[in-house]
Each structure stands twice: as C-alpha cells, then as structure tokens.
C-alpha cells in the first residue's frame, strides 16, 4: 500500500542552517498521525515539503505516491491547513466556500455548508472578523470539503483557547470517523495530539527522534525504579532513553521489546507525554551525532 508520506534522507537547508536533516519516514495511510516537537524543530518545514510549498535540499519525499504539489491531481489529493490558518480577510465565509467550489473539482458543498452551519458561522460574515477558533475551523472546512485523501494540519490549534481546541479536535475526529482520510497534524504539545493520534513522530532539533504507532511505542517503553544503579549495567536488550538518580534511587526509562524481568526493579508504564518529553530531553542533552545514530536506529526498527 502506498504510504501517506514517504521520506528518504530528506533535508532542507536555509543558508547554512539545516531546518530538517536526514529525515527518513514512512507514514502509513489511514491513520491520524501526530507530529510533535518543540518550536523550531522543523515540523513546519517537513509539512511544507510534503505539500510542495518547499523543495528539498537533499533526499526525496513522496506523498500518496506522487511528488508534492506537482499538479492539480496531486493538489486535489492533499488538504492543507497552513500555520496560522490563512484566509482572505476581505472575503465572507460564503465567498470562501464558493472559492473552494471553484478551485476544487472534488468539492463537497453539502459537507462544507453543513460544517459551517454546525459551527454557527454566519455566511455573510467577513472572514477577517472571525475569532481565532472560527478562523481555524473555516480553514479546516476548506481543507476537508475538497475531499482529500490526506489532510495536513500545521499547528492548527496552537493559538486557540481550550474550548476552541476541543471543538476543533471534535470536528477532526468526526471527519476521520466518517471518511478514509489520513491526517497528519503537528503540535508542540503532546496533549493536543494524545487524544487523536494513532501514530506519532517526534521531531527535535531538525531530526526525527522517534516514530511509530502510539500503542507499540507505549508497550515497548518501561519506566524502571529501584535502588541506585549505573544504567550501563543494564542488559543490552534494554536501551536507556533517560535516567535520573537520587542518592539512593534510580529512575530509568528503557526501550525494550522484551518484558523486564529483573525483580530488583519496579516496572511502570509510561504515558505518552512523559515518553515524548524523555526523547526531547535526550535529544537536548546528547551530542548531535549520538542522537542521529539513535534516531536512525529507531527508524530502522520501525516496520
């Protein structure tokens, strides 16, 4: 089956600075994929590469089997809500729907009008006077109603208040439940993605640190607590992601595909947020070449 996004050695350089480097990914279709990472990690760069708004400096990227932004057919397959949800401030909500209808052969006006009605937006209202949440919803409606196979959302809820966030995610979940659309959504907050993501990509310092199905990621990581111990003494099958120590006690996050049987440890499951934070912290503290090697290994382990 064609991957939603397939990247190989993908990199993007601005001047001498790499905004994204050596990114190798294969995101399967039919999932809701969360792309998480701190601000400036390269999330927007990756998504812009996937929509053809940027051209790669190195490597390749295929989206639904095609070159990003390569023509009307490819554009029709991908719905994109860019960062800050751009809309035409001077046009009304109704004008935006007509714009969508005139610019997309697959436009579903019933769907678009239904969403707008459900959101309680006035058709005649100028888009420039909408609240941040309404604006994001309008941009999402435009992207959904073109009936794409892949929906790419770049930090769509970063600037929204908690209620608007919830409503936005609600609409998104309804959409994915109703249709076969794949979704890739970025955020710098794990909490935003936790409820809807089945697949997670963690991007830190322009590199992919972790990628995989959320349940598999959770199952393969254990938090070990016990008497103070040097992490280097752990068996080779348990890779240390992070470790913290008090005078008497060690807390170590390991990645292991086998259960941890050592009775001296108390073994706990880790939640997604802590897992992501551990990887972010690891990327920060380790030297780039180390994290690179590690990131590559993680990717190799993936299906």
């Amino acid at each position: 089956m064609t991957a939603a996004i397939e990247a190989s050695g993908l990199g993007k350089k601005y001047g001498r600075h790499w905004a994204l480097s050596d990114c190798t990914l294969s995101i399967p279709v039919g999932r809701v994929v969360g792309l998480v990472g701190p601000n400036g990690a390269g999330k927007t760069t990756l998504l812009n590469l996937a929509t053809g708004m940027l051209a790669p400096s190195s490597g390749t990227i295929r989206v639904l089997g095609g070159a990003p932004g390569s023509g009307p057919g490819q554009l029709a397959k991908v719905g994109y809500v860019a960062q800050d949800a751009p809309i035409y401030a001077g046009l009304s909500v109704a004008d935006h729907l007509r714009l969508g209808a005139h610019m997309n052969p697959g436009w579903d006006m019933a769907l678009a009008a239904g969403r707008i009605r459900q959101l309680g937006l006035a058709l005649k209202q100028k888009a420039g006077t909408l609240s941040g949440g309404q604006r994001a919803q309008l941009a999402l409606t435009l992207a959904i109603a073109k009936r794409p196979e892949l929906l790419i959302l770049d930090e769509p809820i970063a600037s929204l208040d908690p209620l608007a966030r919830r409503e936005f995610l609600q609409v998104l979940m309804e959409t994915t439940a109703e249709s076969e659309v794949s979704v890739v959504m970025s955020s710098h907050l794990v909490a935003d993605l936790e409820r809807i993501s089945e697949y997670l990509v963690v991007l830190v310092d322009s590199r992919v640190q972790l990628a995989g199905q959320v349940d598999e990621l959770l199952a393969s990581h254990q938090l070990l607590t016990g008497a103070r111990r040097d992490p280097a003494t752990l068996p080779a099958s348990q890779r240390v992601i992070s470790a913290s120590h008090t005078d008497r006690q060690s807390t170590i996050l390991v990645r292991s595909d086998e259960p941890v049987l050592d009775p001296s440890w108390s073994v706990d499951q880790i939640d997604l947020e802590d897992l992501v934070l551990a990887y972010m912290g690891q990327a920060r503290t380790s030297r780039p070449d180390v994290s690179d090697e590690f990131g590559t290994k993680i990717l190799e382990e993936k299906r």
Partner: protein, 343 residues
C-alpha cells in the same frame, strides 16, 4: 478560478467603472458644444493657411475646455500609472505578504493556471479601462486636436497629437501602457513580495520608462524625415548674439504644421554646427539688416529633423506593440517565478 479572480478584483473593477462612467458623462455633456464651436470657426472656408482660424478657435473655446483638455491629458498619464501601482503591485504581493498564497496554492489549481488567469483577466480589465478612456478622450478632443494640427510646432497652440505630450494620451498607445504598467506592478510584487515597496518600485520604473521612451526611443522607431535648406536670416525664428560677440545662435524658421519637431540645427557649409563668432556687422550699433546680410553671406544651412503628422498611427501601433510585448514578457517572468517559488 475565473470567479475567484473576479471576486477578489471586484472592488477595483467597481472603482474603474465609476471613473469611466463619470468621465463618459462629463465628456458627453460638453462634446456637442465643442463640436458646434469647431463647425462655426470657419475651417471649411480656409484651404491653405488655417493657422489663424485654428488659433481663433482655440481662443474661442475658452479656459474651461482648455482646462478639460489639459486635465484629461493628466488623467491619461495617471491611469496606466495607477493601474500598475494599485492593480498590479498588490495582486500577488498581498497574497505573499498575508500568507494567503498558502491557501490559494493548495487548492486543486496549478500555480501556473492561478497566475495566468489572474494576469490575463485583470490585465484585460486594465487594457479595457485605458482603451475606453482613450477612445472617449480622443473622440471628445478631436476638434481641439485637429485645430492643434494647424498650429506651429513648439508654439503655444502647437500641441498636435503626434507631440509627445499628447501622443501618450490618444489612440491605442494607452492600451500598451496599461498592460505594461500592470505587468510591471505584478512582477515587482512577485519579486519583492511586499506591497508597498513593490508599489514604489512600479512607480519609479514606469515613470522612468515613460520619460525615456518618448525622448530616446520613439523618435527613432521610424527614421525621422531630415530636410536641409539654405538659411535665410531675414526669415529666422531666432537670432541671438552673445555679449562679447564670440558666440552666436541662429535658428531658422520651420513652419510646417502638425509635425513633431525633433531638431532644428543651423550648420555651416562644411557641416559643422554654427555657433559664431558674430561678425562686426552683428555687433555694436549696426543695423539688423546689415547683420542679416552678413549671416546670409556665410551660406548657412538649416537642418531639420521631424516626424510628420501622417506617422501618428504607424508610431502608435509600433509603440503599442513594443509595450504589449514587454508586458507579455513580464507576465511569463511572473508565471515562471511563481512556479519556482517555494513557500
């Protein structure tokens, strides 16, 4: 895509329609009176020397029509400039500035098509606006233009339509200017990405082109007519002697009406420009006749270079073609640049 372009352009289109409507009313209301004045001026009776009839008519029309004539020349200069600044420059620069290009370019329309339709549709509106206005003004001003054609070149009543001041405001040339100014504005916007600087650059470049073309390009679009004739000092339109007498300027009379005079030089029998020195006959208290006789004894010749009135339309079409060609080239540059634009 046509609808989208039209919807975004609607406010500007309404403004243009209002301006055209206002001009049409103003011109239609005053035109019959102007035609009456022309018909009663006596052009039918004059066959050879209509210069006096023409200058009488131009006096008779009075200052309001004279002011309108001049005001509409200004309007015709402004229209292409404003089209470039307010239709061209913001067209794509504003999208890039506000980020809406990220919305537009992710609909199921290729960027090439998006750009081509925007350029084509609004470019046609620009051409139509300038064309209609030029048509109305050329029609309204035709009595004045034809009277001006009888006037002496470079005199107060001598602004025939081939004269650069009027040329740019008549016929088909304004279509070319509007198309070029629009394409120039769009290109500046695409390359600079900021609306205000793009507007300023558009204004600067268009003004420069509108200055350079009539002064350095248009005179040579068709090789000018050159006439050499013996200079008669009694007939000269200008005879000036510098104070010490070592410098002297003589300009021969050139009275062919309706032409665009490019140069009127006085040359010596060997072909050098004549600059003096003035002979004793032209210095001190000697009589003007003695000076004239002395000048005639030098056998100076008058070298005149001009574009005759009959070349108005050939020059119009050539220049319009050049501007339309430039506009098309800039349009292609825009399409190419937007295809390649990343983010």
């Amino acid at each position: 895509m046509m609808w989208v372009t039209w919807r975004q352009f609607r406010p500007q289109a309404v403004t243009a329609a209002a301006v055209l409507g206002l001009a049409a009313v103003l011109l239609a209301v005053t035109a019959p009176h102007l035609v009456d004045l022309y018909n009663s001026a006596g052009f039918n009776a004059c066959h050879a020397a209509c210069g006096h009839v023409a200058s009488n008519f131009l006096t008779a029309i009075g200052s309001p029509y004279r002011a309108m004539f001049e005001a509409f020349i200004v309007v015709m200069y402004l229209v292409p400039t404003l089209v470039g600044i307010f239709w061209g420059a913001p067209l794509i620069a504003r999208e890039l500035e506000t980020g809406t290009h990220r919305l537009a370019w992710n609909q199921s329309v290729s960027r090439t098509r998006w750009t081509a339709i925007k350029l084509g549709l609004i470019g046609l509106c620009a051409i139509a606006t300038a064309g209609l206005l030029s048509l109305m003004i050329s029609w309204w001003a035709s009595p004045i233009d034809s009277a001006m054609n009888f006037g002496q070149p470079n005199s107060g009543s001598g602004f025939p339509r081939i004269n650069p001041l009027v040329f740019a405001t008549r016929g088909v040339a304004p279509l070319g200017y509007a198309a070029f100014a629009f394409a120039l504005g769009v290109t500046a916007g695409v390359l600079i990405r900021k609306t205000l600087p793009a507007m300023a650059v558009t204004l600067a470049i268009f003004a420069a082109v509108q200055f350079l073309v009539p002064n350095f390009v248009r005179p040579h679009l068709i090789p000018p007519v050159q006439v050499t004739a013996p200079l008669n000092a009694y007939d000269a339109s200008e005879l000036m002697i510098g104070v010490p007498g070592n410098h002297m300027t003589v300009v021969g009379n050139f009275s062919q009406p309706g032409v665009w005079l490019l140069s009127n030089q006085t040359i010596t029998p060997t072909g050098q420009p004549f600059t003096g020195p003035a002979g004793p006959a032209c210095q001190g208290n000697s009589s003007p006749n003695a000076c004239n006789d002395w000048v005639n004894s030098l056998h100076l010749r008058q070298l005149v270079s001009y574009q005759p009135a009959s070349r108005f339309w050939p020059l119009q079409f050539i220049e319009t073609g050049i501007y339309l060609g430039l506009a098309a080239g800039l349009g292609l540059l825009c399409v190419w640049s937007i295809r390649r634009r990343r983010s």
